[in-house]
Subunit: 190 residues, 2 copies
C-alpha cells in the first residue's frame, strides 16, 4: 500500500463536519472541500463516492467522539453534575465557533436524506439522549440533582435547550445561550 497522504480522508471528514456545522449540508459542495484541501474534486469522490457517504462518515465519526467522551467521564470521582457540565461544554465550544450541532444542522434537510443516513442520525440522537438520561438518573439517585417528572422528559428538555440555544445564539447573540445554560443548571441543581 502506498498512501501519498494518509490524512486526506481525515481532513475531508473534519472539513465536512465543519462545513455542515457552519453552513448546513445542502449549502456546501465537493468543490468547496477540494478547494480548501488543495486537491481535485475527484479525490474527494475517491474517499467518499457520494455526498451521502461523506455524511454517513461524519455522523459515524461524531458518534465515536461522543462514545469517547462518555468513556472518559465514566471514571470514579466524577460527579453527575460534572458529567452534565462536560456535555454542556461541548455545546459551548460549538457556540463559540459560531457553529451548531450536527443533529440540529441536518434536521432541516432531514426529509431530503436517504434512509441509510436517517437511520444513523436516529442512532446518534438515541445514543446522546440515553447518555444524558443516565447522568440525570445517577444525579437524582445520589441526591445531586432534583427534578420533577421523569428523567427522559428532563433529558429532552435539556437537550432541546442546548441544541436550539446554539441555533438561537447565532441570531440573537451568545448571551442568550449563556442564560439558557444557567437556567438548565438552576432547574436540576439540588
Amino acid at each position: 500500500m502506498a498512501p501519498r497522504n494518509a490524512d486526506t480522508k481525515e481532513d475531508i471528514l473534519r472539513l465536512g463536519t465543519e462545513l455542515i456545522q457552519l453552513y448546513g449540508y445542502n449549502a456546501f459542495s465537493y468543490a468547496d472541500i477540494a478547494k480548501n484541501l488543495h486537491i481535485r474534486n475527484a479525490a474527494v469522490h475517491y474517499h467518499y463516492p457520494g455526498k451521502e457517504d461523506l455524511l454517513a462518515g461524519i455522523i459515524d465519526n461524531y458518534m465515536e467522539k461522543y462514545r469517547q467522551l462518555e468513556a472518559s467521564l465514566n471514571q470514579p470521582g466524577i460527579t453527575a453534575q460534572q458529567k452534565l457540565e462536560a456535555y454542556m461544554a461541548r455545546y459551548t465550544e460549538i457556540v463559540e465557533q459560531n457553529k451548531i450541532c450536527i443533529i440540529g444542522s441536518v434536521c432541516s434537510d432531514y426529509n431530503t436524506l436517504p434512509a441509510s443516513v436517517k437511520e444513523r442520525i436516529h442512532d446518534l440522537v438515541t445514543m446522546v439522549l440515553d447518555m444524558v438520561e443516565k447522568v440525570l438518573l445517577e444525579g437524582k439517585r445520589l441526591k445531586q440533582f432534583h427534578f420533577s417528572g421523569n428523567a427522559r422528559t428532563q433529558t429532552l428538555l435539556i437537550m432541546t435547550n442546548l441544541a436550539a440555544g446554539a441555533q438561537l445564539s447565532r441570531i440573537t447573540g451568545k448571551g442568550d445561550y449563556l442564560a439558557i445554560c444557567k437556567g438548565i443548571l438552576q432547574q436540576v441543581k439540588a
Copy 2:
C-alpha cells in the same frame, strides 16, 4: 391592471414556506415551485426576482401571521396559560405536518444568507421572544404562572424546547415532542 391570476404570488409564498419547513432553504429550487404551481420558472422570478427576495417575503409573512395571532389573543377573558398554549399549539400543528419552524429551518443556512435576510430573521426572533415573555410576565403577575429566574430566561428555555422539540420529533417521533410540551407546562404551572 389585468391580473391573470392574482393568487400566484400568494401561492408561491405559501409553497415556498412549506418547502422551507419541509426540506430547508437550500434544498428547494425555483424549478420545484414552478413545477408544483404549473407555471414557468421565469414566472416565479417575476414575482420574486431572486431567491433571497422570496425568503424575505416568507419571513415578513410569517411575522405578520404572528402579529395577527398576538392581536387575536389580546382580548379580555383569555388567560396567560391559554395564550401560552395557543403559541405552543402553533408548534404542534407544525409537528403534525412533519414540518419544523421557519427559524429553526433557516438557522442551519444562516451563515450563507445575505445581511438583509439576517436582519429580518433577527426581527422575527426578537418579536416572538418578546411576545412570549409578555405572556409569562402577565401570568406571573396574576399568579397563574410560577417560575424561578427571570422571564427572559424562562422564555428562552420554553422557545428552545419547542423549536428543537419539533426538530427532534422528526427523528425520534412525535411522542418526544408531546413529552416536552407536558414538561413545559409542568414547569410554569402554578
